[in-house]
Symmetry: C2
Subunit: 202 residues, 2 copies
């Protein structure tokens, strides 16, 4: 398999993490999103939506959207329960992640990391943080009664939500009030074959 | 089953449509999102993220996120292929729908339908339409070579994308340049047991 990816991306990290944890060999391909590489015709031919991560299977078939890739790679592993309701709950939290979390928490981090201090995008930060904290509160409440997001075991729902939550501070989110989230982050980071987002020797 | 829903919602319509097409009996429960009903303590106790649609199973178990509900209800039906790659492609398009389509196309429609003409939210419309058209172009390209989104058959990926695309004009999107999308909309609307978003006699 080939993974088209950008190292600072939390969405890309989700896929690197599951590939490592499932001991799946892959070739890592750098796509510099800051340099317009996802808008290049060769990349758009592979993913017309122009986003990383993108997984290319050995037979050339392609799969986009980080959480869809997690779903594909988790099939037949303990990371995706077979029970239909539990599997649907995994989906629920992965859609929550993309719709109510990533687009605020990840975007705030992106602006902080990659925009110059005077960039007008900094004006978006207070709104992004307000919405991001709303998502963090939903997580905190859920984790007050659950060790992991679904079915009391580590799953792709945890991988999806861990990716940007554990680096939320880089977007200006103070996680100190979120006791349950911090304990869960620690629990996730202690899973077998965990790797940090900074691992770059693929 | 009980469906907590708001009739104008395209996300709610996805669930009404699959329930009708799979001939699944359900009780419809009105939740007036314009009147703050999704922020009421009784509703937040069921869905801490405060959104409809929300499905309550006969045994009281709950499921949120429209596309997760589609995934749950489609299991074991032709609307969700068993093949792992095809199923993952369904997920890909459903995540595309929430991240790259709904938050622009649906939000523009919401502002047009429910904000007074002088409301400051109208300033968001040009940006929402620019991003919405980018999503529509991705769909148009895909549909130039495919009758349906995944595997040449009608699936929950089509239901998810149909919901807000077929009413995109209500958000100020002119679909006349999108020949393939218009043909696909017609194809979806001709499926067995199709219902319009305006059906309200549940």
């Amino acid at each position: 398999m080939r993974l088209y990816d950008f190292l600072p991306s939390g969405n890309g990290y989700k896929v690197r993490l599951i590939l490592h944890q499932t001991e799946t060999p892959f070739t890592w391909v750098n796509v510099d999103i800051l340099d317009g590489a996802t808008r290049a015709p060769a990349f758009l031919a592979k993913n017309p939506n122009g986003r990383i991560p993108l997984l290319e299977l050995d037979d050339g078939r392609l799969l986009a959207e980080s959480n869809a890739i997690l779903y594909y790679l988790a099939q037949g592993t303990p990371l995706l329960p077979r029970d239909p309701y539990l599997a649907a709950q995994i989906m629920q939290w992965m859609f929550f992640e993309q719709y109510s979390h990533e687009r605020f928490v990840a975007v705030a981090r992106f602006i902080c990391e990659f925009s110059a201090p005077g960039d007008p995008r900094h004006e978006e930060l207070s709104g992004l943080r307000e919405n991001g904290h709303a998502a963090l509160r939903v997580m905190e409440t859920h984790l007050s009664e659950n060790r992991f997001f679904v079915g009391d075991t580590y799953s792709i729902a945890d991988i999806a939500l861990y990716a940007y939550t554990h680096v939320a501070d880089e977007g200006g989110f103070d996680l100190s009030p979120y006791d349950n989230i911090r304990k869960w982050l620690s629990r996730v980071s202690r899973q077998d074959r965990h790797i940090p987002i900074t691992k770059n020797d693929f």
